[in-house]
Structure formats: structure tokens, C-alpha cells
């Protein structure tokens, strides 16, 4: 393992440690979505997946 990997790993650990409290707060305090809310989130994601597949075909 070279030192680039070690620095990358340390940086990722730092980001995880810094983001963890904010994540816990948001999990507790975010409003709950209805099923139609989640559908309105999933549909654009499906479109994006198809778009990326198109980009892969174009390469």
C-alpha cells in the first residue's frame, strides 16, 4: 500500500467522522415522504440511468 492510498483513506475517514453527526440529525429531523413523493424522486432517477446507458453506447 502506497502513501497516496493511505492519505486517501485518512481523508475519507475524516469526512465520514465529520458528516456522521449531521447525518444522524437529518435522519431524525427530516420530514417523512409519502409514496407519491418517492415516486416523484424515483422517476427522474430512472430517466438518468437510461440517459447514462445512452452515453455509454455513444462512447
Amino acid at each position: 500500500m502506497d502513501w497516496v492510498q493511505i492519505i486517501s483513506a485518512l481523508a475519507l475517514v475524516m469526512f465520514i467522522v465529520v458528516l456522521f453527526p449531521a447525518t444522524r440529525y437529518m435522519m431524525k429531523n427530516s420530514p417523512k415522504g409519502t409514496s407519491s413523493d418517492w415516486i416523484s424522486f424515483v422517476i427522474p432517477l430512472v430517466v438518468i440511468v437510461l440517459f447514462i446507458l445512452l452515453l455509454v453506447k455513444l462512447v
Binding site: I7, A11, F15, S30, F51, L58, V59
Partner: protein, 223 residues
């Protein structure tokens, strides 16, 4: 009658304020993206080593997390945003140089740029026209992002190419979710600071671009 007039007046003031935040955010985002492109070009011309990317990303993230929030309400915040985006753009130079050296590297970079732009504009247009409230996504996206960071940490040791591909694909999904979430927060008054809004959107665009480069780079060279 007076109460109705007061309510209408409050709503129009609130709408004006929201539109102002939105306009300032997109204006600053455009400028920072251009500046980022400029610093990336300089980095490519200077032929910076690959290590530049790691240093720039770590430096940019540290400044964004620990320095920017303290100055977000002052004019210095705008300077710090340009510092962060300039740094990230500079780090992008060696990555672009590496992809440009591939057989169809120019195609990969162009498609990644166009794809990133299309994803960002498409999702933004979706939120701005439907005016849906995506605040429910907050906890879900943060957990997803943490899991991605953990997977990336594991893959530093495991070195599995398929896992890298999977991580890039999931990053694009999560960042797309963040575009919906952040834009929704701006139009519904949850985010009133255009400096913080800009850096949030910039980071999503940056991550989508890097991930698309990786996916198209791997799939495009699968001979």
C-alpha cells in the same frame, strides 16, 4: 380585508426574496464553473502530476466544511467560494490530461461534460417547474452518501474495478438526489444563503462529472 392584503403582501415579499436567492445562486454557480474550467485548463497546460487531484480535493473539502460556514454571510464568502472551486478545478487538470491521452479520450470528456450539464439542467428544470418539496430526501441522501464513502474506503484496500464502477454509478444517483433536494430547499425558502447554496450545487456537479468520466472511461475502453 386588511388581513388579506397583508397576507398577499407577505407572500409576494417572500417570493421576491426566494427568486433573488435563486438568481444569485445560479449567477454565482455559472461564474464559479467558468473559473473552475479556467483553472483546470491552467493545470493541464502546466502538466501537473496526478497527486494534485488528491491534494486539491482534500484542501477544497476542508475549506468548504470548516472555513466557508464562518464567512458565508460576509463578502469574504464569495472569495472563499472562488478559492474552493478554483482549487477543485486545478485538481481536475491531471485527471483530464489522463483521460485526454486515451484513444477516444476527447469523446469521453465531451460526453461527460454534456451529460453532467444535461443531468443538472434537467433535474433543476424538473424541480423549478413542478415546485415539489424534496425535503424528505435529506436523511436518505446523507445516509447514502456516508455508505458510498465507506464503500470507497473499503475499495482502497480491495481494489475491485467493478466496485469502482458501482460506486461511481451510486454517486451519480445520490448527487442527482442532492440537486433535487438543494434546489427544492432554495425555492421553498429552506436555504436563504446563496453562497452556501452555490457550493452545494457545485459539489454535486463536480462529483457527477468525475463519476461520469470514470464510468465512460471504463466502459468506453472495454474492448
Amino acid at each position: 380585508m386588511n388581513q388579506n392584503l397583508s397576507t398577499v403582501s407577505q407572500r409576494s415579499t417572500s417570493a421576491i426574496a426566494t427568486n433573488k436567492v435563486l438568481r444569485n445562486t445560479y449567477m454565482l454557480l455559472s461564474l464559479t464553473l467558468l473559473f473552475s474550467g479556467f483553472t483546470a485548463a491552467i493545470s493541464m497546460l502546466m502538466n501537473m502530476p496526478p497527486m494534485t487531484y488528491l491534494i486539491s480535493v482534500i484542501g477544497g473539502m476542508v475549506i468548504a466544511m470548516f472555513v466557508l460556514p464562518r464567512f458565508a454571510n460576509s463578502p469574504a464568502g464569495i472569495g472563499i467560494v472562488f478559492l474552493i472551486t478554483g482549487l477543485l478545478g486545478f485538481g481536475l487538470g491531471p485527471i483530464l490530461t489522463m483521460y485526454a491521452s486515451l484513444p477516444n479520450g476527447g469523446n469521453i470528456i465531451t460526453l461527460s461534460l454534456a451529460g453532467t450539464g444535461a443531468i443538472f439542467m434537467g433535474l433543476s428544470a424538473y424541480v423549478l417547474t413542478t415546485r415539489k418539496d424534496f425535503s424528505f430526501l435529506g436523511g436518505f441522501l446523507m445516509v447514502g452518501f456516508l455508505l458510498v464513502l465507506l464503500a470507497a474506503l473499503a475499495n482502497i484496500f480491495l481494489q475491485i474495478p467493478a466496485m469502482s464502477l458501482m460506486i461511481s454509478a451510486v454517486v451519480i444517483m445520490i448527487m442527482s438526489g442532492f440537486i433535487l433536494y438543494d434546489t427544492s430547499r432554495i425555492i421553498h425558502g429552506g436555504e436563504t444563503n446563496y453562497v452556501l447554496a452555490t457550493i452545494g450545487l457545485y459539489m454535486t456537479i463536480f462529483n457527477i462529472f468525475i463519476s461520469l468520466l470514470q464510468i465512460l472511461g471504463i466502459m468506453g475502453n472495454d474492448d
